[in-house]
């Protein structure tokens, strides 16, 4: 069996006295859509923050492409090919839609401050390629015709798509999506599901934190269930849905609510 693209071993993170992630181990093979579900406060977003290096680990190890990530800062991990979206949108509202996506091309371009200051021919060629690449990513999510609008003027659902386009511009190997369907209507959610499936066809491995069970069960290859910062279950969507512990901790509550 090929080694996993992402491998997390014994992750632990405490904030003050609150245990966010107690002891979580999982592997994500290349090319999979892996969902992480669990009740609020189960530690899902914290795991994203640990993978991207926004918080340092208390214990444990994360390996990506067989390389240990400890000691690497967030931008260095991004350059290895890890991109993420945010549950609370982090759009650059001080820029246009296209410029947001162009920031995603930062990793693929090198013109430094001096080259930029004097607009060297090399930096101008590179600038044209950055624009082209960013526009292609906007087309992929269906935002090309809004490219010149201020990013903050987009409706909420399209801002979520812009975050994804911005990630795609970095040409990620692993894409972390933090509740991408939150706030979307039914049609937008369907389109999102199709988009995520098309990204996997492009060879992007996807880690998905999501509350919307229809979406999770519809597109995921496997599901990791967290509860109180620990792995409660792991398996195919069907297996997880029929797991008594999961039903009790999580799905059961939802069914009772409905």
């Amino acid at each position: 069996m090929a080694p996993a693209l992402l491998s997390a071993r014994g992750l632990a993170k405490t904030f003050g006295g609150v245990v966010a992630v107690a002891d979580v181990t999982f592997d994500v093979p290349a090319g999979e859509i892996r969902a992480i579900i669990g009740p609020n406060g189960a530690g899902k977003t914290t795991i994203f923050n640990l993978i991207t290096g926004i918080f340092p680990l208390d214990r444990g190890e994360i390996r990506f492409k067989e390389q240990g990530l400890s000691g690497l800062s967030t931008w260095q991990r991004a350059r290895l090919g890890i991109a993420r979206t945010f549950q609370n949108l982090q759009i650059f509202t001080n820029m246009t839609v296209l410029e947001n996506a162009m920031v995603g091309r930062h990793r693929q371009s090198r013109a430094g401050l001096l080259a930029a200051a004097f607009r060297t021919p090399g930096s101008r060629r590179e600038e044209a390629k950055i624009r082209e690449g960013a526009l292609a990513c906007l087309e992929l999510v269906g935002l090309a015709e809004r490219s010149q609008d201020p990013a903050g003027s987009l409706p909420f659902g399209q801002q979520r798509l812009l975050e994804i386009a911005r990630c795609l511009a970095t040409e990620p190997t692993l894409l972390l999506l933090d509740e991408p369907a939150a706030g979307l209507n039914l049609a937008e959610t369907d389109a999102l599901g199709q988009l995520i499936l098309s990204l996997r066809r492009r060879g992007i491995t996807i880690l998905l934190v999501e509350h919307l069970m229809d979406l999770v069960m519809g597109i995921s290859d496997s599901v990791l269930v967290l509860n109180y910062g620990q792995v409660l279950a792991h398996g195919s969507p069907e297996a997880v849905q029929n797991n008594p512990a999961v039903i009790e901790a999580y799905l059961g509550v939802e069914v009772a609510d409905a």
């Binding site: 926004i54 967030t74 991004a78 982090q90 650059f92 930029a116 200051a117």
Partner: protein, 321 residues
């Protein structure tokens, strides 16, 4: 900004001395050029990258002292002294920026403020090098390839040309991946990092660039006035640079020259007009008038002069059909 607007601006600036013959007016315009260089750097730092500096006068002073000391005490050619000043100042900003640019918001403002005060005290206290409170007199005019900028007219073209070049450099930076990285830091630092932007390095670079621009302005100032003394590099000067940047408008580098011009000309105009309006007017009355005008601009044009005037221009056009 369109190319024709820029060319038009250059033509107007080139023709100004034909119409402005009063020497003291030309002197004011030289200062507009000098201050607009500092303000352009501050606009990149604050308007684009979202980092605050209340110590910009220190970098301005470092450039001025580098030029004065190297030319007066060591006989170094003024152009080489100017470049040495820029390199030295940028290096100091870079080194000082490593610890302090980890701070955010008010804390960064406090650290830069402290840096400004320390540098001012260094200018006063290192008497052997800086001449203490009375400073260094006898700074020669700037010269380049044997051409001496020894009149106000020549210096007007020197400082205005330098200001335009600085603006062009700033515009190029803004319209590049570096400029987008700076704005992404302002927009959301965490998102910028997750997209592969080394935010710490970009902040340091723009801090050093803004310091280099301030240093260039300081050197031109030293060669224009012929005297460098600590009084020009106080905390108040740092605040004035911030005011110029804010009045011009931080959203665009084109605001910088307008802010510098507005504040410099306003200060001068109030100094001349107030004694005629009020026979008993003193320095305090000037400060009050100055304050009222600044408050009015910020109330009616919170985005600064450039966006404010542009918006009212469009409104009038639409109203006129």
């Amino acid at each position: 900004m369109k190319a024709w607007a820029f060319v038009g601006g250059v033509v107007v600036l080139a023709l100004i001395p034909v119409f402005v013959r009063t020497p003291s007016y030309l002197d004011v315009l030289i200062y507009v050029g000098i201050y607009s260089i500092v303000t352009t750097g501050l606009c990149l730092l604050t308007g684009y990258a979202g980092q605050i500096s209340l110590g910009q006068a220190a970098f301005y002073g470092l450039g001025a002292y580098a030029s004065a000391i190297l030319t007066v005490s060591y006989g170094v050619p003024s152009s080489i002294a100017l470049i040495a000043g820029i390199i030295l100042t940028a290096a100091i900003a870079y080194g000082f920026g490593i610890p302090i640019l980890k701070l955010k918001g008010h804390y960064l403002a406090m650290a830069t403020l402290a840096f400004g005060i320390i540098t001012y005290l260094a200018f006063v206290e290192f008497k052997d090098l800086t001449g203490g409170p009375s400073g260094i007199p006898g700074v020669p005019p700037f010269s380049l390839f044997g051409f001496r900028f020894d009149s106000d007219l020549k210096r007007y073209y020197l400082t205005t040309g330098a200001a335009l070049l600085t603006l062009l450099v700033a515009r190029n930076v803004v319209n590049s991946r570096i400029g987008r990285a700076l704005r992404s830091i302002h927009g959301s630092e965490v998102a910028a990092e997750t997209l592969g932007v080394d935010t710490a390095r970009h902040k340091l670079q723009v801090f050093a660039l803004s310091a280099a621009m301030a240093s260039l302005a300081g050197s031109l100032y030293a060669h224009h006035l012929g005297l460098v003394s600590p009084a020009a590099f106080t905390f108040v000067a740092s605040v004035e640079f911030v005011v110029m940047a804010a009045i011009g408008g931080l959203a665009s580098v084109w605001g910088a020259p307008f802010g510098a011009a507005a504040i410099t000309i306003l200060t001068e105009a109030i100094r001349r007009v107030m004694p005629r309006l009020l026979s008993y007017a003193s320095g305090e009355h000037e400060v009050i008038a100055y304050g009222i005008i600044l408050v009015a601009i910020m109330i009616f044009m919170p985005e600064g002069l450039v966006s404010g005037l542009r918006a009212s221009f469009w409104r009038r056009r639409q109203a006129g059909g």
